[in-house]
């Protein structure tokens, strides 16, 4: 639970995150990833671009929190957004590293539903950058990060531990399982062999998406079973797009799914349901029994 300090003489509330805040652990993990990558694993990211992204995102987040919510915040979310963008986005043009983090942070404040954002800011920023920067943005492929399988293993282990803490392990398993399932179908469809279809799972692009972007609590369903369907559904969409050779498909798939979230909330509200109810109804309609109690 975050700690809130309100001074009688100040119009701002000071928000201090708790050590148990999942964002703290995620920020530490991403920082470690970046530092080790730059110093040991030869990630070869541009420090200027990384710094620019972090600076723009954090500053903008603090200003917007102050103006919109009268809060003084430690911009952990923006920091994560910026690092994800700095690590994943590639462009020779430095302006991308101003625009993309700004778009990501702005999306938190300007695209909201039921008083909360529903896009993952990093995902939103990357997709917008891919679509609206005249072809100047691409996403760094995995082997830029060292191409060492041991790094992939360590990242997977740390990532899974984090998923347990943020209660998104099921979501990740559903996504990964769905990815493998769709890869099998793609292989059966003649798109390529196991290395070609499954190999990308060993890259850092996949890892960052899986452990940093996908499990965003604001950008995923509120029930455990809902998240299983959510992860699997993203994997199916991703697999179809990969079959049609659409690069960056997992980012697009997540973006499209999260864009549907407010529609589902609206439908639920119109039907007089709680937000979790549609997910329970999905389960009920498929399995014909009462859904299990969720922890969300």
């Amino acid at each position: 639970m975050d700690k809130t300090i309100q001074s009688a003489r100040s119009p701002f509330r000071i928000i201090i995150p708790s050590w148990r805040d999942p964002r703290v652990m995620m920020s530490v993990a991403l920082t470690l990833w970046t530092v080790l990558g730059q110093t040991t694993f030869y990630f070869n990211r541009d420090l200027f671009q990384l710094g620019l992204a972090v600076g723009v995102a954090c500053l903008l987040d603090m200003v917007l929190a102050g103006v919109v919510m009268r809060q003084l915040i430690l911009p952990l979310s923006a920091y994560q957004t910026a690092l994800s963008i700095g690590l994943l986005l590639e462009s020779y043009d430095w302006r991308l590293f101003v625009i993309a983090p700004a778009w990501g942070v702005l999306s938190k404040y300007l695209i909201r539903n039921s008083k909360q954002h529903f896009f993952n800011p990093s995902n939103f920023a990357l997709v917008m950058a891919l679509l609206f920067t005249h072809g100047r943005a691409t996403i760094a492929p995995g082997s830029q990060w060292g191409a060492d399988y041991r790094v992939s293993v360590v990242i997977a282990v740390i990532g899974l531990v984090m998923m347990v803490r943020v209660k998104r392990l099921g979501l990740v398993f559903a996504w990964v399982g769905g990815y493998v399932f769709m890869s099998m179908l793609r292989m059966a469809g003649g798109q390529g062999g196991a290395v070609f279809t499954l190999g990308p799972m060993t890259g850092a692009e996949f890892a960052l998406f899986t452990f940093s972007m996908l499990p965003d609590p604001k950008a995923s369903p509120p029930t455990a079973r809902g998240r299983l369907w959510w992860g699997f559904s993203i994997a199916v969409m991703d697999g179809v797009m990969r079959y049609y050779e659409m690069r960056y498909s997992m980012f697009y798939a997540l973006f499209i799914h999260t864009a549907i979230l407010p529609i589902m909330r609206w439908v639920a509200e119109k039907a007089g349901l709680q937000e979790a109810d549609p997910w329970k109804l999905v389960t009920l309609s498929i399995f014909g029994r009462r859904p299990v109690q969720t922890n969300s």
Partner: protein, 629 residues
């Protein structure tokens, strides 16, 4: 949010190129001039059929050199198909050519492998240029020029007949003993493990024992070929000194360059490697009695000159900002929507006391607009409009296929793999007729005078289309030279699996009609005297006959220019040996200085230097007289 998105979109909108265009134009005349060659591509074993377009995407090379000493630069062009002959085009003296391959006996013919590159150099200091042909899966060939227009294969006797996968080579005299040495850059490994026996066997891509022949990663591969430095022993034989002098990295080398990067008088090296970091070596000759090469590494221990992108295709050296130090141009890959963080690199030399050799490098390519070269291959510095500023021409294009069905998705999925997953060619998706950065136009980056007097970097404007360079072939090698002897630098471009292009410079008046108020030039042929060494300390240093490594500095009322004689540089490229200086309008020459590799220095004062203007000048080491033509 919409406003924010729109604002970003507008901010990044491509702007119409502004700036001052310069007068430069070329006319393509390969057919008319008799030097047209339609490059034949290599074809490997059917086991590699799935990625054959990729594997057969190199081999079109061109080397310029005056092999018969008639003052006009000739051309040697490679073909890579089985049974296809390379071609020697003799310059008739007016920029037109005749094919003299059969008479000269330098066709090679690719009976087992494939010709990939060639360079001219006078290895025996007898006054005529010999020819070294670099191949895949066939012994490299050293042709000795007999002096009568014919050549003799002396490869085996000389000991330079490596069986490997060479894509690059340069002549240099790394120990300044007056004898040309040879540096060969190899791509594939020459040996692989036979999985059925576990034995290390020859890696023959025509009769493969395995399909695990590809790079192990796209970024850190060191399972490529071993580069070789042959030291000339002076008795017709060469010695492989690679390990002895510090060349041990087994990357996937595509281009090798040599030049005195830190102005200590000793030739340094820059190796452009595919799928891994480039290598920058400093020659230790200034501080050690036996010269060797010291790999420059960054604080993390990574080789290279700076922030690298691991797909080095080409290296060329030239003093692009006229500060007296060689700068470096490395080509790379840039493709909108698929690969946007890379691009060609223009490494500008700068003072940096903390860097080895006292020189550091800044990549100014994006800043000055020379980074977008597409899928880059050969790239050369040259002063195409005789204004005293080095321009850059770079060619590009990988595989031309069905433009509506490209291979980018497939390649990006393969890039996203951990080590060794890309090594087996059989795991690669079928390329078929797909396109991969085909249909690209070469880029002519013309340097223009900066409008800002305090500017510390040069300024360029891209002018290929305006200059009449319109072909969309997949370019590989570039030879720059004044082939028609009119005082303006022309270009010959070897295109992969396509007709070559001979771009004749039509920018200005022929030299005989040029006046001081026009753009003018001096072209210098330097002749070293290997038999007249200089005593420097306890050493005897000498120049090679073709003066590779010699440096010429011209001082004018507009500043200074420096050029160094190259022994072949650039991907599949060798320009003529002559060094060319252009002078803008009303520029007067105040002095000309030649620094020979022997350590000898010759100065020519203003009256003498002015006599050289608009001429092709021949200067012999130690002789204050010179001849003009």
């Amino acid at each position: 949010m919409t406003i924010a998105l729109a604002a970003g979109y507008v901010w990044l909108s491509p702007r119409a190129e502004k700036g001052r265009f310069v007068e430069v134009s070329f006319v393509e005349k390969a057919g008319d001039a008799g030097c047209l060659n339609v490059h034949s591509m290599v074809r490997l074993s059917d086991l590699f059929e799935n990625i054959m377009p990729w594997l057969s995407s190199v081999g079109a090379a061109v080397a310029a050199g005056d092999y018969n000493g008639d003052g006009a630069t000739d051309l040697y062009v490679t073909n890579s198909g089985r049974g296809e002959s390379n071609r020697l085009f003799r310059n008739r003296g007016d920029g037109t050519f005749e094919d003299v391959t059969d008479h000269a006996g330098v066709g090679c013919g690719n009976p087992e492998g494939a010709s990939m590159h060639a360079i001219w150099g006078d290895v025996d200091n007898d006054g005529d240029l010999d020819l070294y042909v670099v191949k895949w899966a066939e012994p490299n060939t050293l042709f000795e020029n007999r002096g009568d227009g014919t050549f003799a294969d002396i490869s085996s006797r000389a000991g330079v007949d490596a069986w490997a996968y060479g894509n690059a080579a340069t002549f240099l005299d790394y120990d300044r003993d007056g004898l040309l040495d040879i540096l060969v850059g190899n791509y594939f490994a020459d040996r692989v493990t036979d999985e059925s026996t576990g034995a290390l066997v020859r890696n023959n891509l025509w009769k493969p024992v395995t399909t695990r022949v590809m790079h192990e990663t796209f970024t850190h591969a060191d399972n490529g070929g071993r580069n070789i430095l042959y030291r000339n022993l002076g008795d017709g034989r060469f010695e492989d000194v690679s390990e002895k002098i510090g060349l041990t990295f087994t990357g996937w080398t595509l281009s090798v360059g040599s030049g005195d990067l830190n102005n200590d008088g000793w030739p340094d090296l820059y190796l452009a490697n595919d799928f891994g970091p480039d290598e920058y070596y400093l020659n230790t000759g200034a501080t050690e009695s036996t010269p060797r090469f010291r790999l420059v590494v960054d604080p993390q221990g990574h080789p290279g000159i700076g922030h690298d992108w691991w797909k080095g295709m080409n290296v060329d050296m030239g003093d692009v900002n006229n500060d007296g130090y060689l700068d470096i141009y490395v080509t790379n890959i840039l493709e909108r929507r698929y690969k946007t963080d890379e691009g060609n690199m223009l490494w500008l030399s700068r003072v940096d006391p903390l860097s080895p050799g006292g020189r550091g490098y800044s990549n100014i390519a994006q800043l000055v607009g020379t980074h977008d070269g597409g899928w880059g291959w050969g790239g050369k510095f040259a002063d195409f409009n005789n204004d005293g500023l080095l321009d850059i021409y770079t060619v590009n294009g990988f595989v031309t296929g069905d433009a509506s069905h490209n291979y980018w998705y497939a390649i990006q999925e393969m890039v996203t793999q951990t080590k060794n997953q890309t090594a087996d060619a059989a795991d690669w998706p079928v390329m078929g007729k797909r396109d991969l950065s085909g249909y690209e136009r070469g880029r002519l980056f013309m340097q223009v005078e900066s409008q800002d007097e305090n500017a510390t970097t040069p300024a360029f404007v891209e002018m290929a289309e305006r200059a009449g360079i319109g072909d969309l072939y997949n370019g590989r090698g570039i030879a720059v030279g004044d082939f028609n002897l009119d005082g303006w630098l022309d270009m010959y471009v070897a295109n992969q699996g396509a007709p070559s292009c001979y771009y004749v410079n039509s920018s200005g008046k022929p030299s005989a009609k040029a006046k001081l108020h026009d753009h003018t030039f001096i072209s210098l042929d330097l002749v070293g005297r290997p038999n007249q060494p200089m005593s420097v300390g306890s050493r005897l240093l000498a120049s090679t006959r073709d003066a590779v490594g010699a440096r010429v500095t011209v001082i004018t009322n507009a500043g200074k220019q420096m050029r160094e004689v190259q022994g072949g540089m650039g991907f599949s490229s060798q320009s003529e040996h002559a060094v060319h200086f252009g002078f803008g309008k009303n520029v007067t020459v105040q002095s000309l200085r030649v620094q020979w590799p022997s350590g000898r220095v010759q100065n020519f004062d203003a009256p003498k230097a002015e006599k050289m203007r608009n001429s092709r000048v021949r200067i012999v080491e130690g002789d204050d007289k010179f001849t003009t033509s």
